[in-house]
Amino acid sequence: MSFVTVSNLWQRYGTRSILERVNVDIHEGEFISIVGASGCGKSTFLRMLLAQEQPYRGEIRIDGGTPAREPNLERGVVFQKYSVFPHLSVRDNLIAAESFNTPFGRLSRNARKAAGRRADDMLERIGLNHVAHQYPASLSGGMQQRLAIGQAMNAKPRILLLDEPFGALDPGTRLQMHDFLMELRDETNMTVFMVTHDLQEGFKLGDRVLVFDKPRWDPHDPGRYGATITYDFDARDGGIPFQMKEETDVSE
């Protein structure tokens, strides 16, 4: 009962292969951590999940639907930075998650009131009600990311994509964010993909940890082969590998 199906996914820029033959099935409600060396294509994979760019080959389906051609309401996203709108107050950022989906980007008065109430609920959940009328620039990095996550959730996406959401935070704040994210997830049972640099974080938060790496390597032409999922760990019970996708064969 696969919810997100990635089948035979390739990506290349110019003549450089970034990803190749990525196949993976994700169940609804799973929390997927994605780790791998810098530049191996984790963000690229996320961008394709987001439909921000189209794969060179292969496809990604959510719940069996047709592959999306551009980002839409089904996919929520939080980047490391710039994920909230600096010109909107904290509360308006949350309301935007509803108002942007209208022809003029504005809600009628009644709809606005209802959205405002839902925004207040969300503010409560993300613990930002005391700064509801401030602008993002006056919030700390951690608060901004909490807002970004709340905003993404407010639009009720089917999958939530996080690209190093805590990469710019200091260690203490990071830990708080972990707790925050786990709580939210327990409440909503969202399907989440999270790219992280921090292995520990990946195993702590994820149900599964996908490791991206190049299975083949051409020393004369490093751009020839792309990365793929080389390990797929079950992290629910603390991180014991349950499945090895492929033998890593350097000499191939």
Binding site: Y82, F85, F100, N101, P103, G105, R106, Y135, Q151, A152
Partner: protein, 270 residues
Amino acid sequence: MRWINKIPERPAAILLAALPFLAIFLAYAIASDIRLEANPQDKLLPAPSTIVETAQRLFTEPDRRSKEILLWNDTLASLGRLAAGVGIAATLSLAIGLAVGLLPYARSTLSSVIAVLSMVPPLALLPILFIVFGLGETSKIVLIVIGITPFMTRDLAQRVLEIPHEQIVKAQTLGASSAVIAMRVALPQVLPRLISNVRLSLGSAWLFLIAAEAVASNVGLGYRIFLVRRYLAMDVILTYVMWITVLAFLIDWLLKNLSRRAFPWMEAGL
């Protein structure tokens, strides 16, 4: 102690700021004195007292013929033209800048033509403008628009492009259409920049206004300056120049404050 670490105390700082103005005034007063010594009727550098008298007269005494105070008429006419020209230029550059910055198709179509247009010397096109738009207000306003729009448009398009792509993607995941992204994400973020562009362009706008008024007009600050140049009434010219400087300063100050008031999110900082 290094000079970069020396900071003047409060009274000294005020004195220092006044110094260059005093120096300019003194230099003028002395030069004027020397010329008036040689020829008491010299018009080129009227004595400061003469300028003050002239200024008083210009600001308060109505013209003999028209019974109106010309300086205020001139000011109203020029400010009206300036406002219309700058307003239209701002609107146009905002619309085109958003389109070029957001839509790849608009960018392909317009970016090179805007780059070329911004290099055309508008003053040289004045005769054509007069034919097409007549000698009235329109051509003066159009000269301002033509003169400052390309630069403002280029800059705004650049700023739209500089909006982090993350925000554009985020808006799409919230279901925003292109129009909503333009109006609710890009527009509010470039508005402060629009104001600073207007502030930057006002100098050129004045220039074009003065040039257009010099060519064909019967009222306006530029008109008056070029008219009285015919009899070298430097006292009038200098009064007008100072008045324009004051106006320019006021407008700049107002815009700066408008920007600060209107965009509180720009100021917010940790």
